[in-house]
């Protein structure tokens, strides 16, 4: 997995980089949440809507679209809280449905967690676990893996932008 010859990982001012150890820790934490809650469906996205992880019953829902809407929902809610001077970290949005309840939770500055649980699960129990999970996720992302090593994503490829453009050509029907 780790290639010592390759370029060092990028650390850009915006966005996040997920290392393999982050992925493993995220999977473990989300699986725990799913079992303890129990949750029917969990989606973890970056705050701009890019999906990081999905666990549970997959329906025909368009996950990319869901990720963007979840991120938009949280962003709007955060801004409403700021405007009304009610903002605090780890905002949580609850939506009560006929069979399930859904929670959208801020998990630190970079992540947003979407969790669907059955109506039979007490709201307080779900809320407590989701808060706990959100804090754990935020801590994981804030941690640099001890042994970063050197990872290569092929970004040093000189012709990368041309190759991406060629690929765009291939999916364009005109």
């Amino acid at each position: 997995m780790i290639n010592p010859e390759a370029a060092s990982p990028i650390d850009l001012p915006s966005g996040i980089t997920l290392y393999p150890s982050h992925d493993e820790a995220i999977d473990r934490i989300l699986n725990e949440l799913q079992e303890r809650c129990p949750a029917e469906f969990i989606l973890l996205a970056e705050v701009s809507g890019q999906i990081l992880s999905v666990i549970g019953e997959r329906t025909t829902v368009d996950l990319a679209a869901l990720g963007s809407l979840v991120a938009g929902d949280l962003a709007a809610s955060q801004e409403i809280a700021r405007l009304t001077a009610q903002y605090e970290n780890y905002q949580l949005i609850l939506r009560e449905g006929p069979k399930s309840n859904t929670f959208i939770s801020e998990a630190g500055a970079h992540l947003v967690l979407f969790v669907r649980v059955s109506k039979e699960i007490p709201l307080g129990w779900a809320r407590m676990l989701i808060h706990e999970t959100s804090r754990q996720l935020a801590e994981i992302i804030a941690t640099q893996p001890e042994d970063l090593g050197k990872l290569d994503l092929g970004l040093s490829e000189e012709k990368l932008s041309s190759l991406v453009n060629d690929d765009l050509d291939s999916i364009w029907k005109g």
């Binding site: 990028i10 992925d23 990319a64 679209a65 963007s68 938009g72 932008s161 690929d167 999916i171 029907k173």
Partner: protein, 197 residues
């Protein structure tokens, strides 16, 4: 931008910004129509009852594997109406590149400039100065009999040095070239940052 080393995914966010009715949503609709369905998500549009963008439009493009790298491009539009300034700022969060869709009608010169300055302010609120993020200027509605040229619009926005492209988005003209240009510039920027990291 989000990189997932495990899945070897490179996720990019490109935002279409510009004044009201300049053609931002039209760009995404054209891309949606013209990209193979297996390589795109559904087009999500959060609209008002009057069919105007309320929060954002969203479309994801998935490219094939390139050197073991899976690029995904997330396209967003902002609502153009002045009322939705707060929403525009939120949509810009985390953007890797911006397409500024200008209306080429001479009477829209002021609204183009206001939107441009508004974008500058919002980017600054995220500590991004102009020049630190790839921006492509798309001069839409070039089919108008009195359309300003891309050079004129670039001059009016003090954006002469940025790549600018003519477009007639509702016919699909210039839409793909714009997408390719911003994608290329974003990738180049990421490679540059990667090299100096």
């Amino acid at each position: 931008m989000h990189i997932n080393w495990q899945l070897r995914e490179l996720n990019l966010k490109i935002v279409y910004y510009g004044p009201a009715l300049s053609g931002k949503t039209t760009n995404l609709e054209q891309i949606y129509t013209r990209v193979d369905a297996t390589h795109r998500s559904e087009l999500i549009s959060l609209k008002t009852h009057e069919d105007r963008t309320l929060f954002f439009d969203f479309l994801q493009l998935e490219l094939g594997k390139i050197n073991n790298l899976l690029p995904k491009i997330h396209l967003y539009t902002v609502p153009g109406q002045s009322y939705y300034e707060a929403s525009r700022k939120l949509v810009l969060r985390g953007a890797d590149g911006v397409v500024f869709v200008a209306d080429s009608a001479p009477e829209c010169a002021d609204s183009n400039l206001r939107a441009w300055q508004d974008m500058e302010t919002h980017l600054a609120s995220y500590n991004i100065a102009m020049g630190q993020i790839p921006i492509v200027l798309q001069c839409n509605k070039q089919d108008l009999y009195n359309a300003l040229s891309p050079a004129q619009i670039g001059y009016l926005l003090h954006a002469d040095l940025l790549p600018s492209l003519p477009a007639i988005a509702n016919q699909g003209n210039g839409v793909f070239d714009t997408l390719k240009t911003i994608t290329r510039n974003v990738i180049t920027q990421i490679q540059h940052q990667s090299a100096i990291a």
